[in-house]
């Protein structure tokens, strides 16, 4: 690529970046306002709304619910994805493409449709409101992300190192444990975190299958936001942004953000 970007291009780019960051910046700013209404703090910065969050009756528990839910879903998703990825990418077996398609399909189905389908399914099975079923729902949503990542990690290294290990006397299990696993570990960790964050943010499907006892944070925020908008929401949102940023930082450390979002970028 020869030509560097001209001024026009850079200006355009800055506008776009500004557009992208603006909503997030404004949220963080408003969260620190000392006022009672939505406003941008100009002189005083206050943490009152953050305190309000912790003192609120429902919000912190929703946060915990989300953490528990997403952790469980991510763990399950990873447990499903690792053996599946290895089986799909290494072995020929009947129905291989079918299983691959099946495990990746939730990404294609709009969360809306997923939501009402699961709602119907759960009520037929008598499970609505049950936390366990909610975990199942989120695992379904999370698995494709983990699977894709682990499969990419499996493809991306020289396979003959496995033969090398065999020739040096290693058993299949040893090869898996000492050669394959360490190499795909960043992929597994990245997949776990990606699954976690996607489950944590999920609202469209969740809002259908949720019940009063199992309200996740995004759903709670949605409900709150439709009723009233005040700086408390901004505080919650800011916490969410910070939390997301931390997870992103972890992903970057372990796996590399660019690879995650775009593939070998």
């Amino acid at each position: 690529m020869q030509r560097r970007n001209g001024t026009l291009a850079i200006t355009f780019h800055c506008l776009v970046i500004g557009f992208i960051l603006l909503p997030l910046i404004i949220i963080v700013l408003v969260a620190f306002t000392p006022e009672n209404t939505l406003s941008i703090p100009t002189r005083d910065f206050s943490l009152r709304w953050f305190r309000a969050f912790f003192e609120h009756s429902d919000l912190p528990s929703s946060f915990l619910t989300s953490i528990k839910l997403s952790s469980a879903a991510a763990i399950l998703a990873t447990c499903i994805a690792v053996p599946s990825a290895i089986a799909i990418s290494r072995y020929e077996f009947p129905g291989r493409n079918f299983v691959n398609g099946l495990l990746l399909s939730p990404i294609i189905i709009p969360s809306l449709v997923l939501g009402i389908a699961l709602l119907r399914f759960f009520s037929a099975v008598g499970g609505s409101g049950n936390f366990g079923w909610l975990i199942l729902a989120h695992t379904i949503v999370a698995t494709p992300y983990t699977l894709r990542l682990i499969m990419a990690a499996l493809i991306g290294y020289d396979k003959s190192i496995e033969n090398a290990a065999y020739s040096l006397g290693a058993s299949s299990w040893t090869v898996f444990r000492r050669i394959i696993l360490p190499i795909i570990l960043p992929g597994i960790a990245g997949g776990f975190l990606l699954a976690f964050i996607n489950s944590f943010d999920e609202v469209t499907m969740t809002i259908f299958v949720t019940s009063p006892s199992t309200i996740t944070l995004p759903v709670r925020m949605y409900m709150y936001a439709t009723d009233s908008i005040d700086p408390l929401m901004a505080a919650v949102a800011t916490l969410n942004i910070i939390f997301t940023a931390i997870v992103m930082g972890l992903i970057d450390r372990i796996y590399g953000m660019e690879k995650l979002l775009v593939g070998k970028g």
């Binding site: 003959s160 190192i161 090398a164 190499i183």
Partner: protein, 364 residues
């Protein structure tokens, strides 16, 4: 008893035969090259010796023991892969000690052996580095150390030098041979580079289309190729067609109306019958220039290429267009368009058996 033996080994992949009736016997301490163009089956043969492919028919014996059905992680052979296959997440030292760990060798002993192996390949200072920090040549040496440290009965090399640049390749060829002789290990190397095969092996097995065609010392393979394919694959050759002629008990061949003297010392069984169609090979470096009219026949120089240590000419002669190789020994180069005389020494014209469809392997 041969150290490693392949008896009538064949491999077919869904009806396509990659290796056909291969018989190979390698003596202890010998360095044997499997040489041939892409697709000739040499890598498949190596894979079968290593155990990564199972032969469709035939047996493989190691020191008399049948290992045909033994799993690759139980054969204990040392293998250097074409891409080196170093474990990217382990240091050089960890890579090399892996095989010893699998054999449950104790720490102190392991360290001693790893150090010794790294010394042999001159990489001792690099033992804490990771593969991605090493150059191609260094990685190759790590792969070699890893294969040697387990003291295997046989060392298998799969085109180990093909990923290196020309200069490095030359250096490594010599290194490889030196190490092999120092350790005294039976070695089988796969390569498509005939120069490499000739320079470092004790014996060369030339393969073509899944078959073994000639198995002999490098000199014999070069000077007495057993087929037109081998003639032109191993080195360059001027190929001629002629008819046999017997005069006074000596063999001659008539080529394009000219009478050429043939190898005098042909044993009785190999003398051609009069009138038999012959394929002959004349190596370019055996031809010599002389004053026009003073040698066997005259030719005109058509093209000229300079290779540093050699001149390569093509000349137009009564026998057709011929390649001539002359050393750059300080003499004046001949010019394009000049007329020259062409001659050669005794026994330089070879009869090449036309044995394209028979697999020949000489006995051990």
């Amino acid at each position: 008893m041969p150290h490693l033996e392949l008896i009538d080994v064949s491999k077919d992949f869904n009806g396509v035969y990659a290796v056909i009736s291969m018989n190979l016997a390698v003596n202890e301490g010998e360095f044997v090259c499997l040489l041939g163009p892409s697709g000739c089956g040499k890598t498949t043969t190596l894979q079968m010796i290593a155990g990564f492919e199972a032969p469709t028919t035939g047996r493989i014996l190691l020191a008399g023991r049948d290992i045909t059905n033994v799993k690759p992680n139980q054969r204990g052979l040392g293998i250097v892969f074409q891409t080196y296959a170093l474990f990217p997440h382990m240091t050089v030292a960890q890579n090399v000690s892996f095989g010893l760990e699998m054999r449950k060798v104790e720490n102190a002993e392991r360290e001693r052996r790893v150090k010794k192996a790294l010394d042999i390949v001159h990489l001792t200072e690099y033992k804490e580095r990771y593969p991605r920090e090493l150059s191609g040549g260094q990685r190759q040496r790590v792969a070699l150390a890893r294969a040697l440290v387990i003291e295997p009965p046989v060392l298998l090399l799969d085109e180990p030098l093909s990923n290196l640049d020309a200069k490095l390749r030359e250096v490594m060829q010599i290194e490889l041979r030196r190490i092999q002789q120092q350790v005294g290990i039976t070695t089988i190397m796969v390569t498509h580079d005939q120069g490499e095969a000739l320079s470092i092996s004790d014996r060369v097995m030339v393969m073509d289309k899944g078959r073994a065609t000639q198995y002999d010392t490098p000199l014999n393979v070069y000077e007495n190729p057993q087929s037109p394919f081998i003639s032109t694959f191993v080195g360059k050759a001027n190929m001629l067609k002629g008819t046999a002629l017997i005069e006074d008990g000596k063999c001659f061949a008539t080529v394009s109306g000219m009478k050429l003297a043939l190898d005098i010392d042909l044993p009785d069984g190999q003398r051609p019958s009069p009138g038999q169609e012959l394929i002959l090979s004349l190596r370019p470096e055996k031809l010599r220039f002389a004053e026009p009219g003073r040698a066997y026949f005259d030719a005109q120089v058509k093209e000229k290429f300079f290779f540093g240590s050699q001149w390569h000419y093509t000349v137009v002669s009564p026998l057709g267009t011929l390649m001539v190789l002359q050393p750059n020994d300080g003499r004046q180069a001949i010019n394009i368009g000049d007329n020259v005389g062409i001659g050669w020494g005794e026994s330089c014209v070879r009869i090449v058996p036309d044995l394209e469809n028979l697999g020949i392997v000489s006995a051990t």
